[in-house]
Amino acid sequence: MTFGLEIALSILLVVGGLFGLTGSYGLIRLKDRMQRLHAPTKASTVGLGTALLASMFHGLMIGTGFSWQEVLVMFFLFITAPITANYLSKVHLQSRHYDGQTPTTGVSRDWATFDTAGEGPEPQLPSRDS
């Protein structure tokens, strides 16, 4: 039991380390600034998630029991990573917009960040008589 758990933890740690290194290497390797957004927000998050999983199961091995605290960190990180990526891509779009290099959207509307058209009229809610 303990030996199997040790093997599983070692595999988790090695895979997590490789994922983290891949994410950080992609930050250097990728050419375009929008492409550079991909590596850290996905690969690094997975690497950190596997490291946290290993930390959770490590309590079973040393006898202090399964630790639930790391779930909080994992939950928080998995929620905040897409929000960070969204904000950074907005910053990229904005800087390209000022350089005049924004790619076309392919439809009649502009990118949502630069869409200055109004909201339109309020929807009419059905009202009850009486």
Binding site: G20, S55, I83, Y87, L88, V91, Q94
Partner: protein, 89 residues
């Protein structure tokens, strides 16, 4: 065996920190530097968690949670400042 795996993972995340530092130094735009800082925060959290496994004590959780919170808030604040010219409107 888990000692070697821990050492390997720590070396990987440390190398990742060095690569992030490189991107932080050469980054062509400001957003690249913000992204490098955000990735550095993720790598530091991973190193803290791995150190918690190595030491066998459970008090590293608070440090990891604090790093996650401040990293997210600082990244969003930088982006809001670049987008709108003000952090809190």
């Amino acid at each position: 065996m888990i000692t070697y795996a821990l050492g390997f993972a720590m070396v990987c995340f440390g190398l990742g920190l060095i690569l992030n530092l490189w991107r932080l130094a050469i980054g062509p735009t400001v957003a690249d530097r913000i992204l490098a800082l955000d990735t550095m925060v993720v790598n530091v959290i991973a190193i803290i968690v791995l150190f918690g496994i190595q030491s066998g004590q459970g008090f590293n959780f608070e440090a990891a949670m604090l790093f996650a919170l401040t990293g997210f808030v600082s990244t969003v604040a930088f982006c809001k400042y670049l987008l709108r010219g003000s952090v809190i409107e």
